[in-house]
Structures are given as C-alpha cells and as structure tokens.
C-alpha cells in the first residue's frame, strides 16, 4: 500500500488521478475499515496536511473546509451544523478528529451531517486534477454510502449560504452510544423545510407551510418516506413510525426560536 500526505490540493488531486486511491480524512471511519479488511486500498491519500481545515466567511455565507472537525464546527455559529456537531457521539476524541468532509463523503444514512447540509442548501466543492465543480448537497447524497463524488475527486469544501430562517435540530438515538436513528434538521422561514436523516438511504426533504405544518407533517413524511432505512439497530417500520415525531419536534424547536 502506498501512503502519501500531500501538502496542498494539487498534490491531493495528483495522487488521486489514477482513481485507485482511498482518501483518509480524520480516519475515524476509514481506518477501522482498513483494519478489518472491509477496505483494502492499494494507495492512501491522507488529507491531514492539505490545508483543507477551517471555517471562513465568504460573501453571504460560510466556506467550510472539508477537513474541519466537529470540535471546530461546534465552536462556530454555522446554524444547524454547530448544533449537530456538539451532539456527535464517540467522545471528544471523535469530535476532535472526525471531519465534516469525511462524514459527507462517507454518506452513512445513520449520520448527522448529510441531512443538515441538505437543509442548509449547502454546495459541495469537488476537485480533480485540472478541474473543479460544485454539486448541491441534495444531489451529492445519492444513496446509502453513495455520493456524486468520482473516485479521482476530493471534496475540498462545503459552502453554506446565510439564512434568516430559524433553525431546529433534533436527533433521536437509542442510547448514548448508538448511531442516530432519525434526525431532523428544520429551518423555519416564510415556509418550513425539515430534512430527515437516518430515516432513509439519503436525506428526505419535507417542505411545509407555516400555517398548516402540524396538520400536514405526518402525511407528508408518510408520502415521502417510502423506503425507510433498516439496519441491526432499528427496523425500517420503526424509523417510519418515529420520523414524523422527530420532525415535528425539530420544527417546534425552530418556531420557538423564531
């Protein structure tokens, strides 16, 4: 196995150009997968020194480097994302190491970041040798553990536009140490958007009117959540059962702040 730790994005894209290398961000998911033989890469590109960490203001929004850790996010005031980062489990060790880019690229249905990014209308900046592109978060998350990223691309940053809408975030897990079972990221502005995580293979977007949200929420969730995510922690029908409950709590939380 080859190991490289490029000093900048160009170095990263060069190392990825053959399309056979595995990116290591914080390593919290991919390193154990290598240990247990679930990933057997011929080359590894470590982003640790590529200069991709940090949160910056840019016009009417934030640019969040892919290597920004949960600990950094938790200290920021990026709506929803800061709240979600504080609630990441695994202890400070994971929050110090796990990155927003790693979580997004991993695209685990049972995770916090994807639904939050979709709710925020974030855009994902991808770079490859000699080029770059931006993909809206809603398109980036293609399915369980699947994203729009090509094997020779690296996620460099995530841009998040400012929002005047009030945020509400609720995560439901079985006990302290479990993956999120269902999360709901709500933004309440003139209309209400609530995005469900954990409930299906990819985030589920529910749009509601302020006046009728309580009456409509359950039927909208039922309509959109046709294939709930099912795993060893919780069966699909359970996720489908509680998804409207968690969504309603997130919206209520947002409206209290509004």
């Amino acid at each position: 196995m080859r190991y490289t730790r490029p000093a900048d994005v160009d170095g990263v894209t060069a190392a990825l150009a053959d399309g056979d290398a595995v990116v290591v961000g914080g390593g919290t998911m991919v390193v154990p997968e290598m240990t247990h033989g679930r990933v057997r890469p011929s080359a590894v590109v470590d982003l640790a020194k590529a200069g991709l960490a940090g949160i910056a203001r840019d016009g009417d929004g934030w640019v969040i480097g892919a290597m920004t850790t949960y600990t950094e996010l938790a200290r920021s005031n990026v709506p929803l994302l800061a709240t979600a980062a504080r609630g990441i489990t695994g202890g400070p060790q994971i929050r110090n190491r796990g990155t927003v880019g790693g979580s997004a690229s991993y695209a685990n249905p049972s995770s916090d970041v994807p639904a939050v990014l979709v709710a925020l209308g974030a855009r994902m900046r991808l770079a490859r040798r000699g080029g770059a592109r931006e993909v809206p978060a809603a398109e980036f998350f293609a399915g369980a553990f699947r994203t729009a990223r090509e094997p020779d691309e690296v996620l460099t940053a995530i841009t998040v536009p400012d929002t005047a809408a009030a945020p509400g975030y609720v995560k439901f897990k079985l006990v302290e140490g479990s993956w999120p079972i269902v999360t709901a990221a709500a933004l309440a502005g003139p209309t209400i958007r609530v995005v469900l995580g954990g409930a299906a293979a990819a985030p589920v977007v529910v749009e509601l009117e302020r006046a009728s949200w309580r009456a409509r929420l359950r039927s909208e969730v039922d309509r959109l959540l046709t294939e709930p995510w099912d795993d060893v922690l919780a069966p699909g029908h359970y996720r489908a059962r509680i998804a409207p409950v968690i969504a309603a709590r997130a919206v209520a939380g947002a409206l209290e702040e509004a």
């Binding site: 079985l174 006990v175 302290e176 140490g177 922690l233 359970y238 509680i242």
Partner: protein, 782 residues
C-alpha cells in the same frame, strides 16, 4: 452497621492496592507481555452455521510472508485430546460431545475455530488466515431453541436423541393443586434476549515451552483449573505446567476456562517451537453469549396477595455446547426460584437446548438473574391482577424465618427482606412518586416506578467439579516482618486483593503496607479455584483469616517468651506485654534467627489453611435436593423511569439499591461491584442484544451495534447498605458482585410497565429498547 471485628481495617475502604501501576499505565495486561521471539496466532473460524468440513486448503496461507505454522483440526487432533468440561453434562445426566480446540469434521456455529495460523506479526497472521480456504457441505441450521426442540430439527450432535442437553425438574409440593385452589392465577411469558459480558479487555493467552515445561500467561479467572484442563487435553502432567494470570481487564465470567483457544495456543507454541500469543479481536469477544432464555410461568395467589404456587417452564438457548461453565447457568435460573418468597408448591421445568449459535459462556449473574427477573415480574402481575400495590405483595410473601429451606432445596442463611424494602421505598420516595405520577400523566408524561428483589446465592460448591466452595491461602511472614499472602482466589478487577490484604493486616495487627499479595500463579500459590460466584472474599478472606491467625498465634507465643508474660498483644505492627514493646519484625527475627534460644516453638512463620464455610450440604434430601451455597446476599432495587410514548425510549430518572451482603470488608469495593452489576443489568434491560442474521452470523459485531451503557445512560445509582451477617461465613460476609443484574432488569421492566399502565402494556421481555417498547404500546392500544 453490625458489629465488626474490633481491630481496625475490616469495614474501612482503603484504596485499591494496585492503583499506582494501573493509573500510570505500568500494569501489564496479557497483550503487554512480549517475550523474545514471540509469534502471533490468528484463528480461522467457520463462516457457516452448520456444515461438514469437506476440505481445508492451507497452501497459500503456509506460503504467505512471515508464516511459521498453519494448523488444521485433523492435525491438532493428533497432538491434543478433547478439552475436558468444567462441568460435564454427562455427570448431570445430560448429553455431551467432545470439545476440540479445532473442529475436525463438522462445524456447528459461525465462528467456531477450524484452523489457526502462526506468523511473525499479528498482521501477517491475519493476512495468511484470510488465505485459508475451507469448503463445507452446508447443512440446515437452527437458530431458535423452540425450533431446535422439534423432532425434525437439524441435529447439531448426531449421536444425541435431539438438541436438548438436559431436561431437569426442580421443586416441591403440589403446585398444580395450589394453582387450582388459588383465588387468582396469572400467567406470562418472558423472553430474555441474548447478551454478552464484553469486558473491555478481550480474552487472550500467551504460551511458551522451556523443554518439556509449559508456561501460559492468561487473561483468565481460574488458573488452577486451567492448568488441569491443559494437562488433560495435552496429556502433560500438571507439575510441568505453570499458569500465570496477567492483570485481567474485566471478565464477568467470560474468562473462566474451558475455551478451545486455551489448548490451541499451548499446542501452537509447542508445534511452532516458540512463544505464541493470541488475543481476541472484539468481533470474537462479542460472539460469547451470556444468557438467552424464555420463561413461561403461572402463579397462583390468594385474594390477599399471598402467592401459593408457581409453575415455570424454561427453555434456555445455550448455542453450541461448550466445555466452559456457561452451559450450566440455566440450572441456577431454575433453582434460585422462588427466591426469597415463602412459596413451597413450586415446579420448574428446564430444557437446556443447543442451537447453531456460538456458546453461552459463564456470565455475571450465572442464571440467577433470570430467576429474579421472572419472580419479580410474577409478583407485579399478581399485584396488578389484585389491584394491590406491588410493594405490599412482596411484603406478604417474604421469608422471615432463617435458615429457610426453599422449594428447590436451597437453605437461605439469613436476611431481612422487609428492612430492604422499607429502606428502598423510603429512599426513592415511593409514596411521593405515586402522587406525582397521576399529575404527570395528565401532562402526557409517563413516569413509572418498579421494584426488583434479589436473593443471590453466592460462593457455590458443586460436588465433583472444580466449582469449589472452599479455598486456600498461605500467609508467610519473613524475617523482616514483611508478609506475603499467597491465595488461590484471583481478582479480575473487583479488588478482592485489597480486601484480603485488609483482612490479613487486621488479623495480624500489622499495617496493610507490610502485606504483599500474590494471586494467579500456579507455581507460587496454593491449590485454589480462582474467581467465580461471589466467593473470593468469603473463602479467600476466610482462609486468609485462618492462616493469619496461625501466624499471629505464633508471634504472640514468641512475644510471650521474650516478654516473659502471657499477657501479650500485637497492634499496628508492635508487640507489647509486661510493660515492654517490640516491633513485630523484631519478634519475627527473634524466632527465625534465635530459634534454639527461644526454645520449643517451631520456627516457622507460615501457615496454609483452607476455609470451608458452613451451610453447604451435599447429602441429597428425600426430594434429591442438595444445598450448594453457604451465603445468600439480598438486595432490593427501585428504578424510576420516564417513557417517551411517541418513540418508546426509556430514560432512567432515579435508581436505588439497598444491598445486604452481610459484613462488608471494604464498603467501597462492595459498592463498586454492585454498581457494575446493576449497570450490566440496565444494559441488558434497555439496549444490549446480540443479533444474528438468518445465516447465523453475528450482526451486532461491534460496539456500534452492540450497545453497552455509556456514562450518560446511567443515573447516579444510589446505594444503601443493610448488614445482616451470615452465621455461616467467617466474618459474616456474604458474596458480593453478582447481585444487581437480575434486580436491575426486574426493576426497570416493572417500572416501564408501571409508566405505561394507562395503555395497559404488559412487558414480555428484555431489552426494552425503543422499538420494542413502541411495539408493546401499539399492541396494547385497542
């Protein structure tokens, strides 16, 4: 607190004596030992739940870098015989099979050892292990115990009449008549899902041979039994085997011996002619089952809440049979009923059944937990049926005269169960909770309180086995006055070493700092049985007391000579008499260096004693019942929960345990044991469950899918002590360490049912995970 021996020490809580080494990272656990020339082993495990081994191709593995040895079952069988049972089912009228270190022609569960690879590094061993190709003739498998009992079910062991290891019946009186005559009869079914002990340190062994002598370092609870087992399976005399238990990073029953890898690693070292170490991967540790059983019960009661009869049918799924003690645990689920309730018309029918899952290994609670869970559910159901308060029904049925012979033949030594109940209700503010409950329900909040009473037989002795109710300790004082205690009991982390040192220091009258303790080394320690069944302080402490008293008597005799008076005493390391004083080291030196001047006192400051507590009786009574336990600790638990009726999530709001383990040698260590056991019970009550895929592979194979309690899951577990000394144990102490698992399960289950009473929910098992609780609510809704 009851009267304690007058001298200082016992009853106080000095800190753990090995603390400094543990706190600084200097303590050596098994994986920290790395002798020169060490090789590493990886076990190749079955990927099918049931199949005949057709072929094993080891060529690629043998040729892989760094590989020293690849061993298959057929080859292993030429060098090693079957692993002897810790408790042989045949001796209990059951079915047995040969347990091999590597399977020879058949596998009966996913994960069963089939081959092993030894290489220069762990990484190379793993890489080579992945190259071993095994082909199977796959056979149909069965994962459910009831299904396994069917006539046409796949047979794990073809020479058995079925998949049942043993069918046993326990009890006395005429329960059918009692139920027929009862004012009310309630019945229920309880499913206890499969859990696992999951110590944070996995299992591991390191074997090395020097000529024809074998040394095994092991993360293990019972070094002497392990020595015997290896002696039998390898055909090497015990005198040539030395077992040293490294520091053990938690065990909870898992590291009792009887695992195939013990013999395997010793054999690999022999064949590779080098030290070989094997340490489990977490996925391997998580395969070990702890308990899985279904109870169907019927209880009869009078209209005023007296329970008159009990029938309980238990089907216990032990997975594949093991030489470890775990398969026998369900027997205790049967014999511990009806716990501390005065019910004499009882019948418990038990089927211990094999399925194509990994074996159940011994686990804290040892089956007694299930007895309490069932009894406490039964009591609550009686209360519900009669519209009585559950606390009151308990009070109507408690045993009050001791010793008390239970329906299954146990002889409860002592206790004060009403005292436990009073203290618990008071501490948890039972009346206040009941008042608040109605009000919170109106606001859509579901609060509940549940009780769980536990009577925990401890320090067992099973005749003809190495489950031994006595133990042995040597106390030796050197010429410098320093004391070495060599004992047969071991400590997997609970701290009995500190407790034993306290006892010896107290008995001798010397500072605890003078006392060094040696455990877990078969070449140094006297014959003993290690750690299980809450025995270490009872029999380790008892034997240490006897030995220390011998040494003290000798010191007193010498001092009497030196002071020329018969009025002598020893305290705080000073001998005194006749107005004179002499440090104890001087007394020791006098005897050991001036033996002839001192006169006719035998110049040895050493004693080896065994302690057999009272109350054990192996002569079967007219019903064939024996009495294998000296002491019975008891406890009463109260859990306060809030249930989110929209998601099914249970949150613990408060927890009280009133614990009576007789005299406490070191109260802080007792509390540590109790809190640990309660937490294990809470985990199995709320979140822990081993889940198997349809193909028999373990789906919950990491800590993301097997959910142990974390700090935020556990409220302050409030501990209250009651001390009812045992008349049958040296210091009046009873076992501590197992009480908590069943009590916690019961208290939580009863609390959840109480919280959800407005829905009419009936709890039918654990874990009460959010999906399971929501299903109960749905089911109860009209």
């Amino acid at each position: 607190m009851a009267a304690l021996p007058a001298r200082v020490g016992i009853g106080s809580s000095p800190r753990k004596r090995d603390g400094a080494a543990l706190l600084t990272g200097r303590a050596l656990f098994l994986d920290d030992h790395r002798p020169e020339g060490l090789l590493h082993a990886v076990v190749v495990r079955s990927e099918v739940a049931h199949g005949r081994i057709r072929a094993i191709d080891t060529a690629a593995a043998a040729a892989a870098p760094g590989v020293a040895l690849v061993l298959t079952g057929a080859e292993a069988a030429k060098h090693a015989g079957p692993v002897p049972y810790f408790i042989d089912p045949a001796a209990r009228g059951g079915n047995r099979t040969d347990i091999r270190c590597l399977q020879v022609d058949k596998v009966v569960h996913v994960g069963q050892p089939v081959a092993a690879v030894v290489a220069a590094s762990r990484h190379e061993a793993q890489a080579a292990a992945d190259l071993v190709r095994i082909t199977y003739d796959v056979l149909p498998h069965v994962l459910d115990a009831r299904a396994a009992m069917a006539q046409d079910a796949p047979r794990l062991y073809e020479d058995w009449p079925g998949n049942v290891v043993a069918h046993n019946r326990y009890g006395s009186g005429d329960p059918d008549a009692a139920l027929a005559a009862a004012d009310v009869v309630v019945e229920g079914e309880l499913r206890i899902a499969r859990t696992t002990t999951a110590p944070i340190e996995p299992r591991g062994y390191l074997a090395s041979w020097q000529g024809d002598r074998l040394t095994v370092h092991a993360s293990c609870q019972n070094p002497h039994q392990l020595r015997w087992m290896l002696s039998v399976s390898l055909g090497v005399d015990e005198s040539r085997i030395r077992i040293v238990t490294a520091k053990v990073g938690g065990s909870f029953g898992l590291k009792m011996q009887g695992h195939p890898e013990e013999t395997l690693v010793a054999l690999l070292s022999l064949l590779a002619d080098a030290p070989v170490k094997w340490v489990e991967d977490r996925r391997e540790t998580l395969m070990a089952g702890a308990r899985e059983q279904v109870h169907r019960f019927r209880v009869g009661a009078t209209s005023d809440g007296r329970i008159t009869g009990l029938v309980n049918e238990i089907v216990a799924d032990i997975g594949a049979l093991t030489a470890q003690a775990g398969w026998a645990m369900p027997n205790m689920s049967a014999t511990t009923q009806p716990s501390g309730y005065a019910v004499q018309d009882v019948r418990v029918e038990l089927d211990i059944v094999c399925t194509n899952k990994p074996p159940c290994n011994a686990a804290r609670g040892f089956g007694k937990d299930a007895a309490h869970f069932v009894m406490e559910r039964a009591v609550d159901l009686v209360a519900r049926e009669l519209g009585m308060d559950p606390a009151e029904v308990r009070r109507r049925n408690f045993v009050r005269e001791f010793p008390y012979r239970t329906a299954t033949g146990l002889n409860i030594d002592s206790g004060d169960f009403d005292g436990l109940l009073d203290k618990t209700l008071d501490a948890v503010d039972y009346a206040g909770i009941r008042r608040g409950q109605a009000e919170s329900r109106e606001r859509g909040r579901y609060l509940g309180v549940g009780l769980g009473f536990e009577l925990t037989p401890e320090s067992s002795d099973s005749p003809g086995t190495f489950v031994s109710g006595f133990d042995t300790t040597t106390v030796r004082m050197s010429v410098t006055g320093m004391v070495t205690v060599l004992t047969g009991v071991t400590s997997p982390g609970g701290g009995n070493d500190t407790g034993i040192a306290q006892i010896v220091a107290t008995e001798l009258g010397v500072p605890i700092e003078w006392v060094e303790l040696v455990q877990g080394d078969t070449d140094r320690c006297p014959n003993g049985f290690g750690n299980f069944s809450g025995r270490s302080m009872v029999v380790g402490g008892g034997s240490a007391t006897l030995a220390a008293r011998d040494v003290r008597a000798k010191l007193l005799a010498v001092a009497a000579r030196l002071f020329e008076t018969s009025e002598v005493d020893i305290r705080d390391g000073i001998a005194s008499g006749g107005g004179r004083e002499l440090p104890v080291p001087e007394v020791a030196r006098a005897l050991l260096t001036r033996a002839f001047a001192i006169g006719d006192i035998e110049p040895v400051l050493e004693s080896t004693r065994a302690y057999k507590p009272g109350n054990i009786n192996h002569v079967p009574d007219e019903l064939g019942r024996i009495q294998p336990y000296p002491t019975y600790s008891s406890s009463l638990h109260a859990a306060v929960v809030e249930v989110d009726a929209e998601t099914g999530k249970v949150t613990l709001a408060d927890y009280v345990m009133t614990h009576d383990c007789g005299t406490m040698i070191n109260p802080a260590l007792v509390e540590g044991q109790a809190r640990g056991a309660v937490t294990m019970g809470l985990g199995s009550a709320l979140s822990e469950q081993l889940v198997f895929a349809a193909d028999g592979s373990l789906a919950s194979n990491r800590f993301k899918s097997y959910l142990l309690p974390r700090a935020g899951d556990i409220p302050l577990l409030r501990m209250i002590h009651q001390v009812t000394p045992s008349p049958f144990a040296m210091h009046g102490n009873k076992g501590a360490g197992e009480a908590g698992v069943g009590g916690a399960q019961a208290a939580v289950a009863n609390a959840v049912e109480d919280a959800l009473a407005p829905f009419g929910v009936t709890v039918r098992g654990v874990p009460l995970s959010p999906p399971n609780v929501l299903a109960l609510i749905d089911e109860a809704r009209p």
